[in-house]
Each structure stands twice: as C-alpha cells, then as structure tokens.
C-alpha cells in the first residue's frame, strides 16, 4: 500500500504544470512552426507537460493537447498587472501567432503616417503559404533542423 501511495505521489509530482507567459501562445499540432494552429492560449493559462522535444513542449491545456515553444511557458504564473496600450480584445491573438493583419494601434499609426500595409500583408501571406510538409521535406533534404526529422 505504501509503495502504491508513493508511486502515485511521484507520478503526481512529475506531472509538471506550466503557465503561458504571453497572450496568444499558439498551441500547434506538431513541434514545428509550420504545423496547424489548434488554439491560442491566454497569458496565465496552465498546462501539463507531457513530452519534450528540443525547444518544444507537448502540453495538455484543458481538453486540448498540442505543442508550444518552451520559451513561452514558465513554472510560475505570470503577473497580470502589466497592461497593454493596445486594445486587448482586438489584438488578443496577435502576439504569438503568424499575425492576421495589424493590431488596432498599429493600423492607426500606419494610417496617420500614410504607410501602406500592402507589402506587409503580402509578406505575411508568403510566410503562411509554407506548409508543414514543405518545411519537413526542406529540413530532411538539407539534413538540418532541430531533430524533428531524421538526419
């Protein structure tokens, strides 16, 4: 009985909990920036670490399971007092994602300064056109990457 309890306690202790350090952290399908985004996780959202691979962590956040960059989480819950000048509702998903258009203050700034965002939007489109299959093939052919492809 003691052994079982100890084993259970050890399992519970090893289930490492982490918290999202930033708003809009992307939970991805796989450990690569080109894989599908499953959700964006709010700052302070907790998750359980299931697996590690290079700079990536496989986590379970609520009902969702996926991968996040290890640099976006911390063992301690972040303080919520740091505010943003921007509208939090409008820019919620922009911080960790391949951005979808300009945030409200950035859009206003661009308009005030007569800056066209057409080229910027095109740059985002180029990046978002890279598929996970292309990325994986590219790394495999070059024998490069962080270990997620066989070398």
């Amino acid at each position: 009985m003691t052994v079982i309890l100890l084993a259970l306690a050890t399992t519970a202790a090893l289930a490492e909990q982490v918290f999202m350090k930033r708003p809009g952290v992307i939970l991805r399908e796989g450990p690569a920036s080109t894989t599908k985004s499953l959700a964006t996780l709010d700052k302070g959202k907790n998750a359980e670490v299931l697996e590690r691979q290079g700079k990536w962590l496989k986590v379970k956040a609520g009902e969702l399971t996926g991968w996040v960059g290890a640099g976006y989480v911390d063992a301690k819950k972040p303080d919520a007092s740091l505010g943003d000048l921007g509208d939090p509702k409008a820019s919620e998903a922009s911080a960790g994602a391949a951005a979808k258009g300009l945030g409200p203050l950035a859009a206003k700034y661009a308009a005030q300064n007569n800056m066209s965002s057409a080229n910027f939007d095109k740059m985002l489109a180029y990046r978002n056109n890279v598929t996970p299959q292309e990325h994986a093939q590219f790394e495999k052919e070059g024998k490069i990457g962080s270990g997620k492809v066989s070398k």
Binding site: E16, Q17, S33, G54, L102, G103, F120, M123, E139
Partner: protein
C-alpha cells in the same frame, strides 16, 4: 521622427509579487532544476527590466508590426514567390531552434540592392536582395537570419524603444489613462522603433550579443556558423567604402568575436548547402 518620451513608475506591489513568486516553488522547482538544460524554461532577458516601462506583450507585437510595415513600405518586396518561400523555410528552421520556437516568425526579401537586414520586435525579419546576391551558400543566409532572429529573441528592439523612452520626460505610461493618451504614447514608441531599426540601428553591444546568440541557433539547426563570418568578410570591403550595412556597425570587431566564439565551440562545421542555395535563388 521625433522622440518624446516616457517615464514609468515602478509599481512596488508588482515587484513584491514577483519576488514572492520567485521565492516559492518547492518540489516543482526541484523537478525543474533537475531537467536537462535544453528544456529549462526560457527567461526573457527583458523580464528583469520590464517593470521599468510597462509595455505589455501585445505592444511588442504592434511595434513589430509597425516596423514591418515601415520597412516593407520603404523598400517593397521582391516579387519572387520561390525566393520568398526559401527565405521563410530557412528562417523557420532556425526559429524552431530558439527559445521562441513556434512564435510569430515572418520573413521577407526586400526589393533593394542595398546590403542590409532588419528585424522588428516579436519576429518580423527582413533581408535585402542586395545581401542575398552577395551570398554563396545557405549557411551564409542562415547566418544573417540567425543574427536577426537573435535580435528578436533578446528583445533588442523593445529595449531600444525603452531606452529612447527613458530619455524623454514628456510622457508617462502611468499617466496614459485615456484611449487618446494611449494612442499618442504608442505613436511615440512606434516612432522610436522605426527610427532604431531603419535608421540608427542597434547599438554595438546588441550587435555583438546577437552574433553570440546566433551561433548556438545555427549549430542546433545544423548549419555551419562559419557562414556568417564568410559573408561578413566578403562584404567588409564594401562597407569600408560606406553606404551599405549602415545599421550594422563594427564589422571588424564582429568578425573577430565571431571567429573566437566559433573556435571556442570547437569549429563544429555543419551544412553549407551551396547547390541548394543556387537552385532556390536563381531567377
């Protein structure tokens, strides 16, 4: 663009909370300490100073967006889908080896013969066609991208904005309570970001720091870090004549420091991929 700035009050309560949180931990910290080094949670270099200027995470992204808009509007993008894809593939491969793996990484090739590269806060990295024309292989491209990626990871852009803000007492984030005041303050910060990235460049310590940080990214991705040195040496004579790489000063010192650091890492070598670079970059 004008600089006005910002003084921020350091909320004592926030500092207290942070210290309390650091002192807590127990078993969780013990487990964390025993993890392999490569999976230790990343600590943003800005974190310790973040309270000095209460810019939030979303502000970083919006300032990055403004830098991206300003640079791409100024130079335009090369109308070459294949080349743009190639630079994104190399860039994303590198980005996935950094503490900001999976983040907001966007790469673009600028339509100018100038030799330069730029990065805006939160992952907007741009390189000129002039720079790519002077490269011989993929490791050189990776070297320059890794340097710019390092500026983002080390938050040099945001730090520069903060430094500019500290020099001007006219604005205070603490006093920016209305939407109008916040918008005005953001304008000042964005002005600083654009000025730093497109005109003044990062300071020398930031450049050296980005080189230092770039080397492990390159090694982990499997690229030969010597590629960055080879590229810098090739463009060095042109820089001596002035007019290019204006935002990247101190190239001789950079080369010397890079060579010493690569040597310290045991000259690891790695992929150079000259044939692939030629195939992707030819018209």
């Amino acid at each position: 663009m004008t600089f006005k700035t910002i003084h921020l009050l350091l909320p004592a309560a926030f500092l207290g909370l942070t210290l309390t949180a650091v002192c807590q931990g127990g078993l969780k910290d013990l487990i964390k300490k025993n993890l392999p080094k490569e999976v230790q949670p990343y600590v943003d270099p800005l974190e310790k100073t973040q309270t000095a200027l209460t810019l939030g995470d979303k502000d970083e992204n919006q300032i990055g967006e403004i830098v991206g808009v300003a640079v791409t509007a100024q130079y335009g993008l090369v109308q070459n889908d294949k080349l743009q894809k190639y630079v994104n593939l190399v860039g994303l491969t590198l980005a996935d080896t950094t503490p900001r793996a999976g983040g907001n990484w966007v790469f673009g090739v600028l339509n100018t013969d100038e030799v330069n590269a730029f990065s805006g806060p939160n992952g907007y990295v741009m390189i000129t066609m002039g720079a790519i024309k002077r490269m011989k292989d993929e490791s050189e491209l990776a070297g320059v991208l890794a340097h710019e990626i390092a500026h983002v990871c080390r938050q040099h852009g945001l730090k520069a904005v903060q430094e500019a803000a500290k020099k001007d007492a006219a604005f205070s984030v603490a006093k920016a309570t209305t939407e109008g005041q916040k918008a005005e303050l953001f304008t000042k910060l964005a002005d600083s970001g654009v000025e730093v990235v497109t005109k003044n460049g990062y300071d020398k310590p930031s450049e050296f720091d980005a080189d230092k940080e770039a080397i492990p990214y390159l090694i982990e991705a499997g690229y030969d870090p010597q590629g960055l040195v080879n590229y810098l040496k090739r463009i060095q004579p042109e820089i001596a004549g002035g007019g290019i790489m204006g935002t990247h000063p101190g190239i001789s010192e950079r080369i010397a420091k890079l060579e010493a650091r690569i040597s310290k890492n045991g000259n690891p070598g790695g992929a150079t991929l000259a044939s692939r670079f030629a195939a992707w970059t030819k018209n």
